[in-house]
């Protein structure tokens, strides 16, 4: 549907954050999507949060995430992202979505 196409369309080929329903945080290049928010990410990595140590980036390669597991998609602001001190960030992982 065009309404949804307007939603993720402008983000195609950009680096995006994806929060999934199980509380994971994946960053990757958005290569494709459809009307139920299935997304294809290239060069993606999971940002693993922990309260004891800094954020770890685990490389994942190409990922296809089924739409019903997608909670949020947001383009990475490269300027802000470059300034982030990931190794000094201590935070609990996001909670899973609870329906």
């Amino acid at each position: 549907m065009s309404a949804n196409g307007g939603a993720l369309g402008p983000m195609v080929h950009a680096r995006v954050h994806v929060l999934t329903n199980d509380g994971r945080h994946v960053v990757g290049t958005l290569r494709g999507f459809d009307q139920v928010t299935n997304v294809i990410l290239e060069d993606c990595a999971e940002r693993v949060y922990s309260s004891e140590s800094g954020v770890e980036e685990a490389p994942l390669g190409v990922y296809m995430i089924r739409g019903d597991n997608v909670a949020l998609v947001g383009p990475v602001d490269e300027e802000l992202d470059a300034k982030l001190d990931l190794s000094g960030t201590r935070a609990l992982p996001l909670k899973p979505i609870k329906f």
């Binding site: 549907m1 909670a71 949020l72 602001d77 609990l92 909670k95």
Partner: protein, 93 residues
């Protein structure tokens, strides 16, 4: 379709969307679609100390299925009109 139409009238207004993982995101409503997927601009997470995950996100797309609440600014809802409209829709008119 009624709430879709209603949310369309809120485009441009500041709203706070609370997700079903307790993350609350404030921003300007940019668009909404038939699934009530929401796009926000100039986003800010309510409790950034606890949720630093979104610090490099300025605008985002939120899937309608994970939205728990949408907080809307006072005065943006005419309760009487919405009340009438929901009744009319329930009647199937």
């Amino acid at each position: 379709m009624l709430f879709y139409s209603y949310f369309k009238t809120l485009v441009g207004k500041p709203v706070t969307v609370e997700l079903k993982n307790d993350l609350a995101i404030t921003g300007t409503l940019v668009s909404v679609d038939q699934y009530l997927n929401i796009k926000l601009e100039n986003t800010r997470v309510a409790d950034e100390e606890r949720y630093p995950h979104m610090r490099s996100v300025r605008n985002c797309f939120i899937r309608g299925s994970v939205v728990r609440y949408v907080q809307i600014p006072e005065g943006c809802v005419d309760v009487d009109i919405l009340h009438d409209a929901t009744r009319r829709e329930a009647r199937g008119a």
